[in-house]
Amino acid sequence: MTGVRQRSGTLDAVRRRVRTTPGYLQVTIGLVAAAAGVLGIIGTGVVIVAQATIASVQSESIPSITEAESIRGLLSDADRSEANAFLAGGAEAPGPRLRYERDLDALTQELARAAAHSAGDDAALAEVESINSQVATYAELVEQARAANRQNFPVGAAYLRQASDLVHQPESGILAGTEELAALDDRHLEQQNVTLALTGAALGLGGVVGLVLLALLVRVQAFLRRRFRRRRSRPLLAATALLLVVSGLLGLAAARTARGLSAAEGSAYPRLVGLYLARAIGDDADTNESLSLIAHGNGEAFDRAFTAETKRLVDRPLTDRMVQDAAGGRVAFGGLLADEASGATTDAERGAAARALRAFQAVMVADAAIRKQVSENQYARATAIALGTGVAQLGAAFSELDAALDACIRLVQARFDAAMGEARPWPVLPFVVPAAVVTIVLLTMGGLRPRIDEYRV
């Protein structure tokens, strides 16, 4: 009972004090300082967390995902090169072999980068190590196949089949591993997006605190006008203006971040992943064309895979008119290449997408020529078209598709980087926000202290 009475007595004393003018002004200073402090902590914290998260998304998560896609693409390309080298038969064709070696070198570097990016993420690191080990086995099997071929031993074909199976096995193959790695990185990105969403919510809370602060400043300004018959207090006006400027800056930064993230993650990033996937699928389709010819009449499974893969790129026969329309932004078909044509917004992007579509058309024309030769039992001619680098030959058409998709990737990557750059809050904000809230408190004190002092006199 005694404690309750004491608390009640203290509250009564505060209430009495607030009812006095100097007491009201002192309490207001305290409230402004507290609100400004909370605003400063929230604002600075949100800016710092957003900057760090966006930097991590841009420099780690998304590069990790595109790395996984790149690893997939390089593997598919290596396997395609090896299949083509085998299909060529006889003295080892230097072109495919060089390409295979180049792919393997690039693959090693990508895996090293992926391992560096995965540091601290045990699951991702384990996946990278598993892929690394499987790639080493793949390379050994290819070398065994090559050694057997060079001695004219047909067992080389069995080694090559095993190598290719190691890449393509649905559950345990290397490609499945790269998909798993991308999925792990994807989950990491999702977590970062959750963090960004939470910082957005915290910024909303900061907005409420800012409104409270604004209300305090406006209210005390009105009080001064009433009680002291002053039209305005300049320091309080400056504090209010500074509050509005800082709030505006934070709001503007949040809007830029949201717009940048939306452009980067909602548009450029899916396009980038789609393009990497399209390039890998193109390589797989080329591999399957070669494996079908190697299978020599028993390649229905490879033919089915080729058809499925090309349908994932463009879901129906492509006419010149469809390509022209797509170049003009009117896309009336589906598939990954259609997605890119639809997503392209600049002339350069539309041009690159149209180039990829024309290359795809050339692939399908060359494929039809190969199938015609196969149906006429002309395997040597079919092989020549499949490996040829001349006009209307599949090797050239796939190379052009590869180059066109590479051009698309560069353009979309630049768009992605620009959007992520926009998404990053200004670097000065973490300094501006605390300085501004301290200034607001000082200005408030500067505006109210003289009035309190008047009562002391």
Binding site: I62, I65, L87, A88, G89, G90, Q144, A148, N149, R150, Q151, N152, F153, P154, V155, G156, A157, A158, Y159, R161, Q162, D165, L166, H168, Q169, P170, E171, A176, E179, D186, R187, L189, E190, N193, L261, S262, E265, G266, Y269, P270, V273, G274, L277, I294, A295, H296, G297, N298, L336, D339, N377, T383
Partner: protein
């Protein structure tokens, strides 16, 4: 947003992965390997099913040739040979990597071997040249399904004639007498399947060799592969202890690997025949005429010396037996 977009791009991958993961779990829980219809990678050891008992019959007896061979390019009307001639191509299924019998020569990318040449001879008997034959490279389990379903006109793939197989396809007269033996690393002390109890022994899937391995009292662990040469890969990788199949195939393996040896005597007879559809007995008789010609005009011996001399001096061609 990004994850959703990504899922949108790859919905089928996600679905398939889940399905496959579920399948893998089921398989793992059963504690057995996947079926080896196709060999994506060396298959895990698995117990072979008990072989079906064959009806009493003489599988080596085929259909007797009737009259002289028709002139090339003039196949009798209404016969399957005429259909082939009108189609412009004989479709023959052969193996892809059996050194000596049927393989794609890595140096030339051309098909070569004893079986390949027999198929060419049959094509030549129909068309008069080698330009009208289409080869399909098949796996061991496809040897009889391909002619039975009409996918090919004939299969020439080191195929043992058996009464059970006669229920699915018709066989030519026997054109080669092989026998099953064992191949082990040079360092191995094993000289027969009896010494390989509890050890892994590879044999081609859906073959008489695999059935024979499963029947051995010492109970070796049977590992199957769709292509015989996949067995050699498994042995070279140290994933099986031995291979047991026809001596013809093992001789080809030994020629490709100086660190293996063929041991023990033949413990089975594996008479080879060309498999064809049961629906075209006139074609079987026609092929038997070609084989008969081959035996008598020295072509058989020349072909043996060309492809199979590593097995020893050329024996006499197997005598044809007929059931009518």
């Amino acid at each position: 947003v990004s994850a959703a977009a990504r899922r949108g791009l790859l919905p089928w991958v996600a679905g398939r992965r889940q399905a496959l993961a579920a399948m893998a779990l089921v398989v793992a829980s059963c504690g057995s390997g996947l079926p080896t219809a196709v060999l994506p990678s060396p298959p895990p050891p698995q117990a072979a099913p008990a072989p079906p008992s064959a009806p009493p019959c003489d599988p080596t007896a085929s259909l007797r040739p009737q009259g002289a061979l028709p002139q090339p390019g003039a196949m009798p009307a209404g016969t399957f040979m005429r259909q082939i001639q009108d189609r412009g191509r004989l479709v023959a299924a052969v193996s892809r990597d059996l050194l000596g019998f049927g393989y794609l020569d890595p140096a030339t990318n051309q098909l070569r071997g004893f079986d390949v040449d027999i198929a060419r001879l049959i094509g030549r008997a129909i068309f008069g040249d080698d330009q009208h034959i289409e080869f399909k490279l098949i796996t061991v389990p496809q040897r009889f399904t391909a002619p039975a379903t009409g996918g090919v006109d004939l299969t020439a793939y080191a195929a043992t004639v058996t009464c059970t197989r006669w229920q699915m396809v018709a066989f030519s007269s026997v054109y080669y007498e092989a026998g099953q033996r064992v191949l082990v690393p040079k360092a191995s002390a094993a000289i027969s399947l009896d010494d390989l109890g509890g050890k892994t022994v590879c044999g081609p899937a859906a073959s008489t060799s695999a059935e024979n391995i499963a029947r051995v009292p010492s109970h070796p662990i049977l590992v199957t592969a769709d292509d015989p040469s996949d067995c050699l890969v498994l042995l070279q990788e140290g994933r099986v202890d031995a291979i047991s199949t026809d001596d013809t195939i093992l001789a080809g393996f030994a020629a490709q690997d100086p660190y293996v040896k063929v041991v023990g005597p033949k413990f089975t007879n594996e008479p080879y025949g060309i498999a064809m559809s049961l629906e075209h007995p006139e074609f079987v008789r026609f092929v038997n005429s070609v084989l008969e010609q081959m035996r008598t005009n020295g072509t058989w011996t020349a072909e043996y010396n060309r492809w199979l001399s590593s097995l020893g001096p050329a024996p006499a061609p197997p005598a044809a037996k007929y059931r009518d």
